[in-house]
Symmetry: C2
Subunit: 257 residues, 2 copies
C-alpha cells in the first residue's frame, strides 16, 4: 500500500474522541469493562490519497479498517478490463471487516477522495471480542447489513432500468449520509465520475450521462462539482422504487424524508 502514515494514534482518552469507539458504542449498551476494552484498542490512523487502492483482490490483510472521512468503494475487475463497483463506503463503515474471517480478499478496495481510515489489527479485534463479546455481535450485525445492501443492489441491477438503478443509488446515499449526519439537507458529497457510476450500476458512461440528463430535466436531482442535490425527493424515491428498510437503520438514524 502506497499511502502515507500520519499518526500512531493510540491515545484517545475518552470515548468521544475515539472514532471507532464512538461508532460502535452507538449501536448498543456496553458495560464499563467493555467500554474499557474498546477504548484501549490500538488504532493506526492513516491518510490516503484519492484514487488509491487500499487492498487488491487476492491480498491477505492482517488488519481491517474503519472509514473516518472520505469516500471509498469496493470493486472487482473482470475479463476485458470490465469493472463492477460493489458498494460505496462512507465514514463509519468497515469495508474490509470480513478479512477478519475470510483471509483472502475477493475484491479490491479503493478511495475515491482523499480519505482517513483507522486500521485495527485482526489480533486486537480478536482480543477485543474476548473481553467484550457484545462487540462481536455489533460487528457481525454490521457485516450482515452490508450483505443486505448487496442484495438490494443485485435486485436493482438485475431487474430495473438504468434510470431506476441510478436513482436508487442516489437515494441510498442520501439516506446513508443523513444517518451519519453528513448530509446538508438534501445535498451530499458524491465524488463519483460517470464512468464509476456506470461501473456501479452496470451501464456505459454514455448511457449514464443521458440518464443523468433526463433526471435533471425532470427536476429530480442534479450532480455538479462533486455534489448531489436532490430537488424532488418523493419523485426520486418514486422513480427509484426506493424503500430504505434494507439498510436496517436503527431508530435514531432513520430519516424518512
Amino acid at each position: 500500500m502506497d499511502f502515507q502514515e500520519s499518526t500512531i494514534a493510540n491515545d484517545f482518552e475518552t470515548r468521544e474522541k475515539n472514532p471507532l469507539a464512538r461508532r460502535l458504542a452507538s449501536h448498543s449498551e456496553f458495560s464499563e469493562e467493555e467500554l474499557q476494552a474498546l477504548l484501549s484498542l490500538p488504532l493506526k490512523i492513516v491518510a490516503i490519497d484519492a484514487d488509491t487502492d487500499l487492498l487488491v483482490e487476492g491480498e491477505r490483510p492482517t488488519q481491517s479498517c474503519v472509514v473516518l472521512s472520505g469516500f471509498l468503494c469496493r470493486y472487482k475487475l473482470l475479463e476485458a478490463g470490465k469493472r463492477q463497483i460493489l458498494s460505496f463506503h462512507l465514514p463509519g463503515d468497515m469495508p474490509d471487516l470480513h478479512s477478519f474471517h475470510l483471509p483472502r480478499m475477493d475484491h479490491s478496495l479503493c478511495s475515491l477522495t482523499p480519505s482517513q481510515v483507522a486500521f485495527v489489527s485482526h489480533q486486537s479485534i480478536d482480543r477485543l471480542m474476548e473481553r467484550a463479546p457484545k462487540l462481536a455481535a455489533v460487528l457481525w450485525r454490521s457485516s450482515l447489513v452490508d450483505a443486505s445492501v448487496l442484495r438490494q443492489w443485485m435486485a436493482n441491477n438485475g431487474r430495473r432500468t438504468a434510470r431506476q438503478r441510478i436513482a436508487h443509488v442516489l437515494c441510498e446515499l442520501l439516506v446513508r449520509y443523513r444517518s451519519i449526519g453528513l448530509a446538508q439537507d438534501r445535498r451530499y458529497r458524491f465524488p463519483v465520475t460517470q464512468i464509476e457510476l456506470g461501473d456501479a450500476v452496470g451501464a456505459s458512461v454514455v448511457h449514464v450521462n443521458r440518464v443523468l440528463k433526463d433526471l435533471r430535466g425532470d427536476g429530480l436531482v442534479t450532480i455538479a462539482a462533486g455534489y448531489v442535490s436532490v430537488l424532488d425527493w418523493p419523485g426520486l424515491k418514486e422513480t427509484a422504487g426506493f424503500d430504505p428498510s434494507y439498510l436496517h437503520l436503527l431508530k435514531g438514524d432513520t430519516w424518512v424524508g
Copy 2:
C-alpha cells in the same frame, strides 16, 4: 408458514447423527464442552413442500434454519411483478442466519423442491454462543461467505453477457455440490425452471432458453429432467470466467476439476 411439522428431534446422541453439528463441526476444532453445547441444541426438523415460502419479506422470525435436504432460493419482488433471485441454497446452508441479528427479513425464502430444514430458535443460538464462543466465529464466517457469493453474482449480472452469467451459475453449483458431496461426477440436481434461472441472472425466459440451446450446441452443458450435466468443464469455466476463490472453500472441500 403452511408446511407440515414432522418431528421434534432433540434426541441425536452422537455428533454424526446431528446434522447441524456435523455441518458446523467440520469447520473448526471444538472442545468437549463446545461439542456438548452443540449437541444439546434443540432442533425442530420440518418437511417442506416444493414451491413454498418459508419466509416472506417483512417478517420477523424468531428462529433460523439449516437446510438438510432439498433446494431453496432467496428472492425479492419488485414493482410490476418483477422478481430477482438472490441466491440458491443447498444442504448445509443457513439461508436466514442473518435474521438472528437483523430482525426484519429484507427478502423472501422459498423451496424449489420438497426440502427438509432444521429450525433453531434465536434464543438457543444465543445460549449456544455463550457456551461455545468459537461457534459464533463459524457462523459469522458462513454469513461472510454468503456475502462474498453475493458480490460475485453482482459482478456477473452487472458486467457479463447472459451467456456468461448462466454458465457462471452452473459452474458455481457444480463446485458447491461437490464440496458437500452431492454431485454425481459432473452431474447435479438443478430443479430450476428457465423462468427462475432468468430471475436469477436478470434475463427473460426466452433469452435463457436460447442461451441454454447455444451452450448445449457448443457441447458445454445440458439441462434435462431437473439435472445439469456438465459435458465440457474447462470450456464451461472458460466461457463463464469462473474462478471459485470467491466461495472461500476450506481445504477439504475444494475441488479444482
